[in-house]
Symmetry: C2
Subunit: 105 residues, 2 copies
């Protein structure tokens, strides 16, 4: 789903990933993390797509909200597991959304 109900300025965490061949437990864990993220203060929405690489963008009210989510204990444990098992490579970018345009046919 495309997130189209936000008003800049706000923040985006842009997470680009290349997976290993071992995806055991990944999908369940990714779903659990999405559920947890939605419970965080300052969470605004999420968009995700995957084929050769995966791109997940989560939207947040503030840098403080992103830091709180980063420091969530379960999320921190899962990130370690991700680096051990699931991710061959990733790049994580903290971005300020300055402007936005939408279109619907």
């Amino acid at each position: 789903m495309i997130v189209d109900n936000l008003k800049p300025p706000y923040y985006a965490v842009l997470f680009s990933t290349l997976m290993t061949d071992n995806l055991e437990g990944y999908i369940e864990t990714a779903r659990r993390m999405e559920t947890l993220a939605k419970l965080q203060p300052g969470y605004l929405g999420i968009e995700s797509a995957r084929n050769e690489i995966g791109i997940t963008v989560s939207y947040w009210e503030s840098l403080e909200a992103i830091t709180q989510w980063k420091n969530n204990v379960e999320h921190t444990e899962v990130r370690e597991l991700g680096r051990e098992k699931w991710y061959q490579q990733y790049q994580l970018r903290i971005c300020k959304v300055e402007r936005e345009y939408g279109f619907k046919a």
Copy 2:
């Protein structure tokens, strides 16, 4: 491919799309636009993924570089074609990348 050679601050154009059922000419045009974008001054890289929705992120040195690419004549014509034929919905976000972390196994 994941873009992992950039140093913040720089800019990201985050383009989230939902397609129509008519993708005639789309792939060729998307490739042509990627080729054109790479020739633009200030272009830094691109990442793209698609399943239910598509997410394409292009990276740029400055807001001026993004504006120049927006004003490119061929790109402008293609955007109109996109709204007529290919896109059911899209959201375009102009973002400033403030921080970045990378991982490689």
